[in-house]
Amino acid sequence: MFFDYSAEQQDFAGSLRKLVADRAPLPAVRARLGDAHDPDLWRTVGQEMALLTLAVPERYGGGGFSLEETAIAVAELGRGLAPVPVFEAVLAIEAILRTGTGAQRQELLPSLLSGDRIAVAALSGPDALDPGAGPVTARPAGAGHTLTGSLPHVLRGHVADLFLVPALAADGAGLFAVERTAPGVTVSGPGSSFDLTRPVCAVELDTVPAQRLGDGPGPDLDGLVDVGRTLLAAEMTAAAQACLEASVEYAKRRVQFNRAIGSFQAVKHGCAQLAVEIDAARAASDWAAMLAGAGDPGLRTAALIAKAQAADTFTACAGWNIQVHGGIGFTWEHDAHLYLRRAKADEALFGSTARHRALLATRAGI
């Protein structure tokens, strides 16, 4: 009976928090707004720390840990809005592990695990659950396929070397691997991304040669998206904590009416209520990570619960942080809006909170 971080997991989280504090403090994050990519930090987390390999079986060159540890890594980098595509890359690696053939895994994974190449799965929208409704079509071409269609919101698409694209083929839906350099690929952006620390790009595909992952149609994209939700819930919970910590620190220092404003119940109770929601989000995201790590089918509901709870909590914490800071909180120079932007962007990923609850109602048999 143990539902908490182990001592080793706590140490791991602590070392990552220190890495982010040293290498990507918020001023460094701000220096890279727009592009939001730090190649040096990426080399560190990929090659030196092997964060991308945690949940990968040892036979594919992985570290033999699990998605529990992956969720901790995503959480700690997300806590600081670190400018590296860890969430995107580990989800793409998970996609290849889940849908690729043995040969595809052998071919694609090594350069992705080391971080030499970056893969991004174009799974951010709710319609990713149903490639049949999605905007990309696959047509047979020789031994493989070509893809045609538009992907308007690919997370950090500007740093991707490989895209994993859900598309509808004549024989059913599938996940396809597309090289960034393949003929017919156009990547625009990042331009006007709302989330300045995790931008999106538009990817246009015009008869692009692509490799289908797996032997046939019908990969378990639901299960993959649930892993994405789980990792995102971990990130949002940690980032919500960062917002509340910033609020609390400020409320202790800021004096009005000759008192620290944190001594006023209006401020104190607002912070306390968010601490309650963070506690709930932490329990839900840890639970989902545990199930994801164990391959437990309960993830079908747990991932939805975790993502919805974490999204509501992160948005509330990011908004409250601006409120507690007053005027300074609503300036460009203050970091509070970076978190609010991340919160709203995360909330929309894989479907809104309302869509999560609707899906939960269905999956839970309500």
Partner: protein, 424 residues
């Protein structure tokens, strides 16, 4: 992370299940399915069966009448009983066993343990709690009930209120003021007082749902031996807080079981009335489902920490807020589903259950209407939501306390002559 229970706990679980199968009446659906008349007789007989089978105080040492097992077996017992809809004792046992008994085990003298613990289990002593007063609710340390030593006895005068199950108790544990000349937390004493004496009067209070679940208790020169002090004279605040630390024991894992059972009942109600497919209702039902699951996850976390010996601290405040605020939102949803049927709710009530209805309770409009009313009390008793948020803000987040106006000797608080003592 791994939430499987240790093998010995699972072996004990099998024993408890076998006990329940062998001892519950045939066709058992839960306490709520019994007619009001049958219920009292069942509870008496059932408690005696539990006492005979060492199932009342599983984690107490055998020397005091317990089963001599550990905390995890106690939790497993409570889980299996909750799943079966079987009570683990009477409401007074919550005060006698869970709160006072566990407090005596850590803060009582050898004599107190030997004298009181077996009598709690045998049912000879039936306990209730004398904490709140008309002028001391959230500000519990402001109690005014006085206790004065007179020879070998304390003489007690004052009034307690919101005493749950006071009508069925014959003993009460009381926080009383023994020294008004020192700051308010420092002049309190925790006393064990027999109710069956001329100086103690218990009067029931009818609650907003129409049930008599709590009482007022009046003390007029009531007496108790000086040896019935727990934790030392003027050290009662510490004992009182130790006791509150036991307020949420096995509940961390049994609450989600009972909320889930009741949520299934609400789903049934929504389906019966064709409201389950309505998007707004569905969204709320899904939120409720998620909340109960989160309570379950938190239960495993609470259990992990409980078994490691950690004190709940601000964790308890978080749990209290989560269930009580959930309970209100959930019962508001029930009223929404009932619609106009809530205006003249028909059928049997909720039996006066403070939280969700007992297993087996009929899914009637009146039951839901009463559950809705009782949910209003949940955010007040055992520390209001506002008090819980202050605890979280100050103890967990480290936010500064408010300037205090009650720092000096207790007798000077609120006196016009006394200058407000800022800071303190």
């Amino acid at each position: 992370m791994d939430v499987s229970y240790p093998q010995r706990a699972e072996r004990f679980r099998a024993d408890v299940r076998a006990f329940l199968a062998a001892n519950l009446p045939p066709g058992w659906r839960g306490l709520g399915a019994l007619a009001p008349g049958e219920r009292h007789d069942f509870e008496r007989a059932w408690r005696a069966t539990l006492a005979q089978n060492n199932l009342l105080a599983v984690s107490w040492p055998a020397a005091y009448g317990g089963a001599g097992l550990s905390a995890i077996e106690q939790v497993v017992r409570s889980e299996e009983f909750e799943r079966a809809g079987a009570p683990t004792g009477t409401e007074n046992d919550g005060f006698g066993i869970e709160l006072l008994g566990n407090t005596l085990l850590v803060a009582g003298t050898q004599e107190q343990k030997r004298y009181f613990l077996p009598r709690i289990l045998s049912g000879e002593h039936v306990w209730c709690q004398g904490y709140s007063e008309p002028d001391a609710g959230s500000d519990l340390a402001g109690v005014r009930t006085r206790a004065v030593l007179d020879g070998g006895e304390f003489v007690i005068n004052g009034q307690k209120i919101w005493t749950s199950a006071g009508a069925t108790a014959n003993w009460i544990f009381v926080i009383a003021r023994t020294d008004p000349g020192v700051p308010k937390h420092k002049g309190l004493t925790f006393l064990l007082v027999p109710i069956g004496q001329p100086g103690v009067e218990v009067r029931p209070i009818k609650n907003a749902a129409g049930y008599e679940l709590f009482c007022e208790v009046f003390f007029t020169d009531a007496r108790t031996p000086a040896g019935h002090v727990v934790g030392g004279v003027n050290n009662g605040w510490s004992t009182a807080m130790t006791l509150l630390g036991f307020e949420r024991g096995a509940e961390v894992t049994t609450d989600p079981i009972r909320y889930r059972r009741d949520l299934d009942r609400l789903l049934e109600l929504a389906r019966e009335r064709g409201r389950d497919t309505e998007p707004g209702i569905r969204d709320e039902l899904a939120w409720c489902y998620a909340r109960v699951e989160i309570m379950r996850y938190r239960g495993y976390r609470g259990l992990t920490r409980f078994l490691s010996g950690a004190r709940p601290g601000a964790d308890g405040a978080i749990s209290k807020l989560i269930w009580s605020e959930y309970f209100q939102r959930y019962t508001e949803l029930a009223m929404e589903i009932l619609g106009l049927d809530a205006l003249a709710p028909a059928g049997p009530g909720n039996g006066g259950a403070l939280k969700v209805a007992d297993a087996g309770t009929e899914n009637s409009a009146r039951c839901w209407a009463e559950e809705f009313l009782h949910a209003r009390a949940g955010t007040i008793y055992a520390g209001s939501s506002q008090i819980q948020r202050t605890v979280i803000g100050e103890q967990l987040l480290g936010l500064p306390r408010e300037p205090r106006l009650d720092g000096g000797p207790f007798r000077d608080i609120g006196q016009p002559a006394a200058a407000p003592a800022l800071g303190g």
